[in-house]
Symmetry: C2
Subunit: 229 residues, 2 copies
């Protein structure tokens, strides 16, 4: 099956690795886009490279946009804000202002040049209910925008923003990834992984991930900075 | 009058200089954002600095996003595509894929951190009718998106995307700028200005600009690379 070209936003985490494998299974020629925006660690970009190689892509681009980090306002890009290590209420301090809007805009720019009309993003509204730009209504609004914003949209191409993980639990995503043969030890989800990509085991992203493996009934292959005996 | 903070997209051209002066007149504390995206020349960014200083801003940020240029697909960022030197039909080759979507996304990210709810963009649907992302329906769709995409939007702040030049002719814009005391010799509109900011006099942007001064009844203060005697 040849579904044409697609742009896949690939962070190097568990969700976007599953997303890429799903897009491959659906027959897309995958153009993976990873965006460095002043994250505290580069370990997840290394993970994105490993994942792209393992799953297979037509091309992998890494774009650097330090401005998002320079704006500040998020614990993921600002060393003066602590990453919380317990359950989080409301919109977390790890929310990066307008991050998914910027990511989708860059994906759209590349898609238009590639003549691709499909864009995949691994947002999830179950685990990240506090992030406004992980909600279905945000994705729908961006799709409307994409078809007004571009030459392709004006000329009749219809862009589709695919968010196949949006309503899945972490355990569902892990089961889907296991079916697709993903080696999750290559992925990094932790908000404060060390240089070797080892996870802290304490932040919100680590908690969600390890609970997901437990609920899915799979052993957790994550490399942690210390053992949790 | 204190209207609060606003983010102003400032390219260094005639339109965005007028935009900034209008926002100042309306009482906003202006945070100017200029974006380098692999333009053929840096002269317009130098112009943006001059304009910001002359009109007055609370802060001027320059963000570099080479990725937009690396995507290719536009004569403004790709040296292998020629800038047309005559009237243009349809969507011009100088259209940069999804440019205004990326610009507004970055402006939105900064606005959210600044606690600003007003964003100004100098798009014009009269002269740039061929650019899909200069149309009123694009601006309206981005405003909807902004209020879904952000923490501020979710918590009740309403972002407003201001495009006060959108329905004005170039002559109208120049008259407005003259009223506001703008020195247009500091601005650069040319698609292929030289390092000193001198205009080619032949590209579409130069044609529109010089016709605008003629129609407005003002002498054209533009510095050209050669005289048109």
């Amino acid at each position: 099956m040849d579904s044409g070209r697609a742009v896949i936003l690939l962070s190097g985490g568990l969700d976007s690795a599953t997303l890429l494998a799903l897009a491959r299974e659906r027959g897309y020629s995958c153009h993976a886009l990873s965006i460095a925006y002043g994250q505290r660690h580069r370990a997840e970009l290394d993970a994105a490279r490993r994942v792209a190689r393992a799953i297979g892509v037509a091309e992998h681009r890494l774009v650097d946009i330090p401005a998002l980090g320079q704006h500040g306002g998020s614990a993921l890009t600002d060393d003066t804000l602590a990453v919380p290590e317990g359950p989080v209420q409301g919109i977390p301090v790890t929310y990066v202002p307008a991050r998914n809007t910027v990511f989708l805009a860059l994906a759209l720019a590349w898609a238009e040049v590639l003549d691709a009309r499909d864009i995949f993003i691994g947002v999830n509204a179950v685990d990240y209910s506090g992030y406004p730009d992980c909600r279905p209504e945000f994705i729908a609004a961006f799709q409307v925008l994409a078809n007004l914003a571009t030459r392709a949209g004006v000329h009749g191409t219809r862009f589709v923003i695919h968010a196949p993980l949006i309503a899945m639990s972490k355990a569902d995503i892990i089961r889907e990834g296991a079916r697709l043969g993903i080696d999750y030890s290559q992925t990094v989800s932790c908000y404060q992984a060390d240089e070797d990509g080892r996870a802290c085991g304490r932040c919100d992203a680590c908690r969600l991930r390890s609970a997901g493996f437990r609920a899915a009934g799979y052993p957790d292959p994550t490399l942690y900075q210390r053992s949790f005996a």
